[in-house]
């Protein structure tokens, strides 16, 4: 972005602009000739895909906002107005609704890729932390967006989640009333959620800018986790990765389109097609699927934490659950400091690889449990009744142990496999059949 040495452009208009504001030079430097490791696999598509989803959400969201009104008496009707009377309103809404899910799918894969190939390690710690901040902002945005149609699950989901803040000692209740703008989730809550749901995506855009800026300072990680050393290791971003990203994006959009056009409500909950009713509580209040693992962690802490065999309680179950839920995401941000192993890629760290894949499996199972009623019985083991809560507790324990015990332990103890000299050597090894598609 600075006025460095500039190569003149042939097109006189482009050249005129570029002399005064070297934006074309910047685009060429950052997206044209930008040296990019040549060994990316398709996991590296998901950053671009997430970016595409963010833009899609903003464009459809602004259009939907033109037809919506954040007032409890009409919000539900307005959404149905969009579905029935606005030209292609159903298409806009289904793109937006399923877009939230597909944005999360893209970001989950993107985060997994970072974990598997060690993209969070030095010098990319800040880049990683910006990413986790984006993820948190996405969660807040998605949560508030789900409230806007003012269906049963909107209302009760908002009630459950905002009530979590009441677990904070002393000031909890005050904070919750401040969030609500009253004594329950009501019109002021809907109004501010709409305002914030409109604002936060632009905050996300800001943090994405920082995320990408930081990426362009350090350069991308790659599946081998080895930094590029010579020109042999890299390719210009364009046309190689513009093309590869475009192809991956089209495949992703195709799957997304199948949901939008053929099963637009498969990822939602039927209760949200019933208008919000503060007098009727749904049988099971469940958040959207992308929150389920965290919801399972929240519910897994159903016991007070204190000194055993005494009456001393440090924090009650509710606060414990809230701390565990937020802690589970904070730990992701702290990964660069918990995992100090010098080798980045799980390709060369067999033990880390197993621990990480088990971690992913436990997140999936936590998600499954998060969607089931609490304490659902599973089986009898002798006189002991095994419930979903027990499984959730076990997996929550593994979740935390992965970050707090396994990562620090492996940092010191794990012996890495022999590594190739360079990215180029890694690619040649693959070519000769001696590795490792992962």
């Amino acid at each position: 972005m600075s006025a460095g040495p500039r190569t003149p452009f042939e097109n006189p208009v482009v050249e005129w602009v570029d002399q005064r504001l070297p934006i074309f030079t910047m685009i060429n430097k950052e997206y044209g000739v930008f040296p990019t490791p040549k060994n990316f696999n398709y996991f590296w598509n998901f950053g671009a895909i997430a970016m595409f989803m963010l833009v899609t959400m903003i464009v459809t969201g602004i259009t939907l906002a033109m037809h919506y009104a954040a007032d409890t008496t009409v919000a539900f009707d307005k959404v149905e107005h969009i579905m029935r009377d606005v030209n292609y309103g159903w298409l806009l809404r289904y793109i937006h609704m399923n877009g939230a899910s597909f944005f999360f799918i893209a970001v989950f894969v993107h985060i997994f890729r970072g974990m598997y190939y060690g993209s969070y390690k030095a010098p990319r710690e800040l880049l990683w932390i910006f990413g986790v901040i984006i993820f948190l902002l996405m969660m807040a945005t998605a949560f508030m967006g789900y409230v806007l149609p003012w269906g049963q699950m909107s209302f009760w989901g908002a009630t459950v989640i905002t009530n979590l803040f009441s677990a904070i000692p002393v000031v909890g209740t005050t904070i919750v009333e401040w969030l609500w703008g009253g004594f329950s989730v009501d019109n002021p809550t809907l109004n501010r959620f709409f305002a914030l749901h409109y604002l936060l995506p632009f905050v996300i855009v800001g943090v994405v800018f920082l995320h990408v800026w930081a990426l362009h300072v350090t350069g991308s990680n790659n599946p081998s986790g080895i930094e590029p050393k010579t020109e042999k290791d890299t390719l210009p971003f364009h046309p190689y990765y513009t093309m590869k990203d475009s192809f991956g994006l089209v495949v992703f959009i195709t799957i997304y389109a199948v949901f939008v056009f053929f099963m637009p409500n498969a990822l939602g909950h039927p209760d949200n097609y019933t208008p919000a009713n503060p007098m009727v509580t749904p049988a099971h209040i469940v958040p959207e699927w992308y929150f389920l693992p965290f919801y399972a962690i929240l519910r897994a802490i159903n016991f007070d934490v204190g000194i055993p065999f005494t009456d001393i309680v440090f924090f009650e179950a509710k606060l414990g659950g809230v701390l565990a839920m937020f802690g589970s995401i904070v730990l992701v941000a702290l990964m660069p400091f918990l995992d100090k192993h010098p080798v980045r890629s799980a390709r060369y760290r067999p033990k880390y690889r197993i621990a990480l894949l088990l971690f992913v499996l436990s997140v999936f199972v936590l998600g499954k449990i998060g969607g089931m009623p609490a304490d659902a019985p599973l089986m009898h083991i002798g006189s002991f009744l095994l419930t979903t809560t027990h499984i959730a507790q076990l997996l929550t324990l593994y979740y935390f142990a992965f970050f707090l015990v396994i990562l620090p332990y492996l940092s010191k103890r794990e012996k890495a496999l022999p590594m190739p000299e360079s990215i180029n050597d890694a690619v040649l090894q693959c070519k000769s059949g001696k590795c490792c598609e992962a």
Binding site: K38, D77, E80, M83, R84, W90, L91, Y94, L235, P239, Y240, M243, K244, S246, F247, V250, V251, I253, T254, A257, V258, V260, F261, F262, P264, N265, A266, L267, H269, P270, D271, Y273, T274, A283, H284, W289, L292, P350, R353, L357, V360, L361, F364, V365, G367, K368, G371, V427, L428, K431, K434, C435, C436, E437, A438
Partner: protein, 264 residues
């Protein structure tokens, strides 16, 4: 078989396991949500599947069932008479259907409310003026609006069909409170609505069997249309979009291969 290959197969197994867990988490239309026996019958409907369309004759019969039976208690307030064009009715026929009801309008220039016949632009007239009136007339239970019922229940059209055909004698030992009814499809098996349909209750003009199961199927079709009037358009557009994207993806892959050919 070397060590890395072994690891790869383990990696694949984990991915597959994860995918299986994911598949399990996708809400299944027929999964019983609660502990109560809760039987949802899987009925073959014409609008199912990616190429499904509404059976217009069934929609028209379903409208008859709604107007003659359901409309006594259940509103359909998000559907306008003009929307009935989708069912194959002419503007004249729609005017006649809308004109069957009297709606309150106004105030006029003198400031008076007045009654007039319904117009195509009106929404379906609700049987009760408000929820209190609905509750009072129905022993305290408000009959839900049916505009979105197939989207608001697990099972959708199958759910509506199952409720309408699910009335039975309560099993031995199950006590049903006064004014309530046993229903196999209802969550908890107790429903406030009395069995609404009986064989021969509605006189079909097209020779279709006049039996409860046929009525139920037709009205479930009609209510699916009421909830998702855009479905046919959506699916037809979807076929084009997905076809285009698939071909585009193949082309993109070919271009990508071409560009990357010289690398390595």
């Amino acid at each position: 078989m070397n060590k890395t290959m072994e690891k790869n197969s383990m990696f694949k197994k984990l991915i597959l396991t994860s995918a299986a867990v994911m598949a399990l988490s996708v809400p299944s239309a027929h999964a019983a949500e609660s502990a109560g026996v809760h039987e949802i019958v899987d009925v073959p409907f014409s609008f199912e599947g990616p190429l499904g369309t509404y059976d217009k004759a069934s929609l028209q019969r379903g409208l008859m069932v709604y107007r003659q039976v359901c409309a006594g208690c259940h509103s359909l307030k998000r559907v306008a008479y003009r929307n009935l064009e989708d069912l194959g009715y002419s503007p004249e026929q729609i005017k006649t259907i809308a004109g069957d009801v009297t709606v309150m309008d106004g105030p006029n220039d003198e400031g008076e409310m007045f009654e007039r016949p319904g117009r195509p632009s009106d929404r379906f007239k609700s049987p009760f003026v408000n929820d209190k009136a609905a509750a009072s007339a129905n022993g305290g239970a408000i009959p839900p609006d049916l505009s979105l019922i197939t989207k608001a229940r697990h099972g959708g059209a199958d759910y509506v069909y199952s409720i309408l055909t699910g009335y039975a004698e309560a099993p031995h030992g199950v006590v049903i409170a006064e004014g309530k009814h046993y229903n196999k499809a209802m969550d908890g098996n107790v429903i406030a609505m009395a069995p609404p349909l009986s064989d021969g209750a509605i006189a079909y003009e097209d020779g279709t069997p006049q039996i409860v199961s046929q009525y139920a199927k037709d009205v479930a079709t009609f209510l699916t249309w009421a909830a998702e009037p855009e479905m046919e358009h959506r699916k037809q557009m979807g076929v084009k979009v997905v076809l285009f994207l698939s071909i585009f993806a193949v082309v993109m892959y070919a271009v990508k291969r071409q560009i990357w050919k010289k690398v390595h």
